[in-house]
Symmetry: none
Subunit: 400 residues, 2 copies
């Protein structure tokens, strides 16, 4: 279904809230959403269209990239975002169309073999120091600018900035990580003709880094993975005719939405500050994406009480959001992160759409089990955006 031929513009406003990793599983009989005291969210669910969505496919656990692509209506099986790109977005590098992005590990090499793929998980402080040293000594290779930025523990990001436009083909270079300790690293091998140049620069980078790091006890080597370029992807405005912005604390989510051409508004703080910005920019956009990260973080930590409290905190700000009276309000997650699993999971994610054009009255609260009774049913995440556009009367009739 080619939606673009049906798009019509109007003055409606859409607020689209992702509670990252909100879906959960029961511990002592109740899920995080079932345990949370969230009167506002539950009242809203009672008058909304509810259901659940499957981010990628049945049984498939999505990463953050596919999770967000799906809810924004970009089929995550069609639009794959490279791991290097995702890493770069996560450390707040503003990627350009001339860039190849690579995620790197500090590692320990001995007698030609990788004996620790994570260099004993060195501290982030040590990482910052080492990455600064590499940066100061490697400014460019073969005329290509080298940009380095530390991540957490042993992780850092390498961006090669060319003077020409880069496509995904240019970046098709094999990972150097042997995946198992006690094996030699791979050479950066080009997987096609176009990627020869990138593989050569990668080789030279590894040699230079090895030389600079040679006296380090643990972090004396670097492993390169996920060579990738910005995907060729239609912008949100091209696809839907929506002027969109994103409000997110974490760089990765700002990065993903920037890929889609949204204006991204940096926020310090948490839900309170995000809602303040929402109110400030509300008049300027058709579509405002608000991302609440910490719910997922507590899920990843297996901190049930923390996740419940964060859901309750969001609930306390809901009346303020509702007072804006958007034409459509969407609340869901990009995936589930049950505390029971301490990681993303494949479980369908509760979904709520409020508009004047819903049945409502089918669920009692915003939980996994109640949303099963909702009028939306269980849908693929890519169907959310067509529903939201329909609910704001932004889609013309199909056929006569």
């Amino acid at each position: 279904m080619d939606l673009s031929s049906l798009i019509q513009k109007n003055n409606t406003k859409i607020v689209f809230i992702i509670l990252d990793g909100v879906g959960g599983l029961p511990i002592d009989g109740k899920t995080e959403l079932e345990r949370a005291n969230k009167p506002n969210l539950d009242s809203l669910a009672r008058v909304s269209a509810c259901g659940l969505h499957i981010p990628v496919d049945y049984g498939i656990t999505p990463g953050s990239g596919p999770g967000h692509f799906g809810v924004f209506g970009y089929d995550p099986l069609k639009y794959e975002i490279g791991r290097g790109v995702l890493e770069a977005l996560g450390v707040d590098i503003e990627l350009q169309k001339t860039d190849v992005a690579i995620r790197c590990n500090y590692a320990t090499k001995k007698d030609g073999l990788i004996v620790d793929r994570r260099a004993g998980r060195i501290s982030t402080e040590k990482n910052i120091e080492l990455t600064k040293r590499l940066s100061e000594n490697i400014d460019e290779i073969d005329g290509v600018k080298i940009i380095l930025k530390p991540g957490k523990e042993h992780r850092f990001c390498l961006v090669m900035r060319f003077k020409k436009e880069i496509t995904e083909k240019h970046a098709m270079v094999k990972d150097t990580d042997p995946q198992k300790e006690g094996k030699p690293p791979f050479e950066p091998t080009p997987l096609n003709e176009e990627s020869l140049e990138v593989s050569e620069i990668a080789k030279k980078f590894i040699r230079k880094a090895e030389e600079i790091l040679k006296n380090e006890e643990k972090a004396n080597y670097v492993l390169l993975r996920g060579f990738s370029a910005l995907p060729d992807i239609p912008s949100f405005e091209q696809k839907y005719g929506l002027k969109a912005c994103s409000i997110a604390v974490y760089p990765m989510y700002r990065g993903i939405t920037k890929l889609l051409g949204m204006d991204t508004i940096p926020v310090q703080g948490d839900i309170k500050e995000e809602v303040e910005i929402l109110k400030k920019v509300y008049k300027d956009y058709d579509f405002i994406f608000l991302h609440v990260k910490k719910i997922d973080s507590f899920g990843e930590d297996g901190n049930f009480e923390g996740k419940v409290k964060k859901i309750e905190e969001f609930d306390s700000f809901l009346p303020e959001i509702l007072s804006l009276n958007p034409d459509a309000l969407v609340i869901t997650g990009d995936h589930s992160t049950p505390c029971l699993l301490k990681t993303h999971s494949w479980h369908p994610v509760p979904l709520l759409i409020k508009s004047p054009y819903v049945l409502g009255g089918t669920v009692n609260s915003f939980t996994e089990r109640e949303c099963l009774k909702g009028e939306i049913g269980i849908i693929r995440s890519v169907s959310i955006m067509p529903l939201v556009l329909a609910n704001t009367l932004r889609l013309r009739k199909f056929g006569a």
Copy 2:
């Protein structure tokens, strides 16, 4: 899934009822179906397989063509019915495989510009008079027969009847309607080599019509849109092995079913007369389609009370229909037409299938919200026909 390889014939009978636009939305808490007092339909729902169907896709509002194609199991994304064809069917022109059908507007042209695309919405009576005048003066162009028939207000239909078979390629000519007032009309431009002939005849038709209408104050010009030919589509009998007929008051629905090779039985009157004909022809067909139009009409008017009353009227005839004891009885709509929206909508449509092979006992009444609890769930409209064939034991096992 290629159903045709599984089809087996038997003596079962299917009655398939479309309550056009039956799905609705709550006004003062209840939908049209929820407000209606319809004891027979509700009793039937309690012992039937219930669910909802999505005509085209999530969020997509279907026109009447896609809506009906879907419930008959023809994927509306694959089989698109041209607007000219639909218009011709709507004014009861019996289209042939040698025809190009075009929907036309009377318009006002001044100094080379279209100043009113609808000629001030002239009356239907005036339209009839003008179309008669055009017909009497334009019998054929370049040996191609010209058939004209008035529609409502400023609309009329033009059919070019060739002496050769016409495909959709022959009809690919650009609309002449500039879509905005104050602009000159477009010439009928061929969009490929095969459509050159049709575009030339269209040009001559426009010149002739302009000459004939030159003294008219408002309707002094004609705009041509939706050039189209009959789609190449397998018949209902080819597809399902069903000898089928359709009972419909409105020409468009007879036309759509005629496209699918059904026998079409014209009816004057409304539900009462339709049910009488159903009983009369029941023994002659495997599949009888009965179309109730007025429910949609009241929806389009936003007449909640009228739509409710019409549903209740249908309910009163249900015992008569049930007394035929068909092997499968289907009751659904081709799309929703909520009075709240006064137009077709994207909302899933309540669906009921009665046969000896259903679970039943899952819903209390035939409404949008109750059907959510049904054993069918929410399905794409194209899945209805396979279910109906299965419920009449007309599908063989797939695989060993």
